[in-house]
């Protein structure tokens, strides 16, 4: 029952993110998806402009070969025909309940080696990493997997806040450099921004 519930949360979280990416103003976003719900990880959506991307629901399965997904992500990031090398950094978003298994369905720690390979690859190292925690029964051990993946604990997202993930893509356009004192400057206040929200 829990497994079936999780696939629904995963599908609705993905659909929400797809919608939000398509609506983002911060330049065109390419969205690609790797799934690892079957016995092998596979490319579910080839990198596509967000406005054209559609989420096709995944079907459930009991195995989670996360290590294969990390290896495939690394290969996809290195493939210039799929993802042109551009200035903006890639984002990697891991949506999972955090229970990696091998292809046989048994718990496996092969993900650790694959994550190291991903993070030491030239493109993987540039990537910013977020994780969406799926399902209510994420154990401390499973959470540790998600925590190892993210760039910082602040990027561990609850499913109910998944809509907000897209706001981080503005990072590229809102970078503020530090001054000597370590302070930062906020963009100046423009009252017409408030009127634009009406």
């Amino acid at each position: 029952m829990g497994e079936w519930g999780k696939i629904d949360i995963l599908n609705s979280s993905m659909a929400t993110m797809f919608r939000a990416f398509a609506g983002e103003q911060a330049g065109q976003i390419l969205v690609g998806v790797i799934t690892f719900g079957g016995t092998v990880a596979q490319v579910h959506v080839r990198p596509t402009p967000a406005a054209d991307a559609r989420w096709n629901a995944m079907t459930p399965s009991g195995v989670t070969p996360m290590d294969q997904a990390f290896d495939l992500a690394r290969e996809l990031l290195e493939d210039e025909t799929a993802i042109p090398r551009r200035r903006s950094r890639p984002w990697l978003i891991l949506c999972s309940d955090g229970h990696p298994t091998g292809p046989d369905g048994y718990a496996s720690d092969a993900w650790q080696g694959a994550l190291d390979r991903l993070l030491s690859s030239p493109q993987g190292r540039r990537a910013r990493r977020l994780a969406v925690s799926i399902g209510p029964d994420v154990t401390a051990e499973a959470r540790a997997v998600l925590a190892a993946f993210v760039s910082d604990q602040a990027y561990l997202v609850d499913a109910e806040n998944v809509e907000r993930v897209s706001q981080f893509f503005e990072w590229a356009t809102h970078t503020v450099t530090s001054d000597v004192g370590g302070g930062i400057r906020a963009p100046s206040f423009d009252p017409s921004d408030l009127a634009d929200r009406l």
């Binding site: 629904d8 209510p136 604990q153 602040a154 109910e160 809102h174 970078t175 302070g183 206040f189 408030l194």
Partner: protein, 477 residues
């Protein structure tokens, strides 16, 4: 049994052997039954329609109640069943924590003057706060794989006192894991998503989101989004025509009142939509009631409503003249027309750093990401910054204040730290910086257009954290 005065009195018994006297007017009426308060108690009873005892109905309900008790519902304001009724009634007993009224009382505009009714029931700001909380409850349920099932104005109850905005979902016997939601429930007419009328579709998070969208529109505007002027201007005697219209609206066969191209069902009554729906809320309504009407997968989910409603709720302030609340950014109070007062505005950013940066990579770069959340402080008032503001993962209660910000309307801003962690208040210009320990309050100088204060909600400035940037916002009238 008849009480003195002739009011019929309904008494039911539960499996703990208690005799419960029900109030005669139901608190709410849903798809399959009605909810009555128990006289002189904090209990309420859901009676399944048809008071006649039917063993199959009773068994079915018992099985559902047992499965609901196994759902992960911790931390959510749901009135869970505490006992079940015995023969000859089918139903269950639940607890109510305080004096409540159905959300429908905030959502059904009376005929005649609306401004006073809207204000007395809490105005715009309270409606947005209540809807934010409801969106959070549903979004959290959905995040746990659970659908609510039959959302309507009668099975959400809110504090009877308008200065409070507690909320509970009653009538929780339809809760189930989405994957198990095999029972076919059409939902409450006018709220149940169009696809539920077909036997092929069952309850889903997106059917919940549809009913929520109708309820949100109705709570903010006072009227139903599919009932245009023709429902009110019709000749009262033409029952057949009105009946047909009602049926069409309940089945969503008419365009919604603000449809981008279909103009046959326009609405000019109710609270003006541009006073109470900001751009983000109007967009969510349009997406739900146009592309998302027949196609659930094109419908915004509850996390989108939660984000938009919480931003809207935080962007309101009160009119010093008429006491109504309205969105910051309006040059005048839409309710009474006086020029909008100055307010202190905090823009909330996420300050991010890259802990993974390395020497051969770019240099260390803290960056601000606009969360689009605001904190608005009125002259002479205090505004709490809630835990949910600007957050991706609010552990614990998202409605707990993490800081309180006050403004005297002149050049003094006050910040209070309710604890438990310390945080930093830094002037953008100059070297003025203060550390606020738990429980501490500081007052600093602000001037319109010249002083910007950065409130870092962290005790570690180099870790990713939220930051509210405060400026005085004064219109030149």
């Amino acid at each position: 049994m008849t009480a003195l005065g002739g009011t019929p009195e309904l008494v039911v018994r539960d499996d703990r052997g208690r005799a419960l006297v029900l109030e005669s007017i139901p608190l709410g009426r849903g798809g399959q039954g009605r909810v009555h308060r128990v006289r002189n108690s904090r209990l309420a009873v859901k009676l399944i329609d048809g008071v006649r005892w039917r063993p199959d109905l009773a068994d079915d309900l018992m099985a559902r109640l047992r499965s609901i008790n196994r759902l992960p519902l911790d931390g959510l304001p749901l009135s869970r069943p505490v006992a079940h009724l015995v023969e000859p009634h089918v139903g269950y007993v639940m607890e109510l924590l305080e004096s409540v009224v159905p959300l429908g009382e905030l959502a059904s505009a009376p005929t005649g003057e609306l401004s006073g009714w809207y204000l007395d029931s809490g105005g715009l700001a309270r409606r947005l706060r209540v809807l934010t909380k409801l969106a959070w409850v549903l979004s959290t349920l959905h995040g746990r794989g659970i659908v609510y099932g039959d959302l309507s104005p009668t099975n959400v109850v809110v504090s009877a006192r308008p200065e409070q905005d507690h909320l509970w979902l009653i009538d929780t016997d339809n809760l189930s894991f989405q994957a198990d939601a095999a029972r076919h429930i059409a939902g409450t007419p006018g709220y149940g998503a169009p696809e539920l009328a077909s036997a092929k579709a069952s309850l889903s998070t997106l059917s919940d989101a549809f009913a929520f969208a109708v309820l949100a529109f109705k709570t903010l505007v006072g009227l139903h989004p599919f009932r245009g002027d023709q429902f009110f201007d019709e000749d009262d005697d033409d029952y057949t025509r009105l009946e047909q219209l009602n049926e069409s609206a309940a089945a969503f066969r008419l365009p919604w009142v603000d449809h981008s191209s279909e103009t046959s069902n326009r609405l000019s009554y109710g609270i003006p939509r541009n006073w109470v729906l900001d751009a983000a809320l109007r967009r969510l309504c349009r997406e739900t009631f146009e592309e998302g009407l027949r196609s659930p997968r094109n419908r915004p989910g509850m996390s989108a409503w939660y984000a938009a409603l919480s931003r809207a709720a935080d962007a309101t302030h009160a009119c010093p003249n008429c006491q109504h609340t309205f969105y910051v950014g309006n040059r005048a109070c839409p309710w009474c027309g006086i020029p909008a007062p100055s307010v202190l505005v905090g823009r909330v950013f996420a300050q991010l750093t890259r802990p993974d940066f390395s020497a051969d990579d770019d240099r260390y770069e803290p960056a601000l990401v606009d969360t689009r959340d605001l904190v608005v402080v009125e002259a002479g008032g205090w505004t709490p910054i809630l835990s949910r503001v600007g957050h991706l993962a609010a552990r614990g209660d998202p409605f707990e204040p993490v800081a309180n910000v006050g403004w005297d309307g002149g050049d003094r801003m006050s910040v209070h730290n309710p604890g438990p962690r310390s945080f930093h208040l830094v002037a953008q210009e100059g070297r003025n910086r203060r550390r606020l320990m738990a429980g501490e309050r500081v007052d600093v100088l602000v001037r319109p257009g010249s002083t910007t204060w950065l409130l870092h909600l962290t005790d570690q400035l180099t870790a990713p954290h939220r930051l509210a940037v405060f400026d005085v916002h004064a219109w030149k009238h």
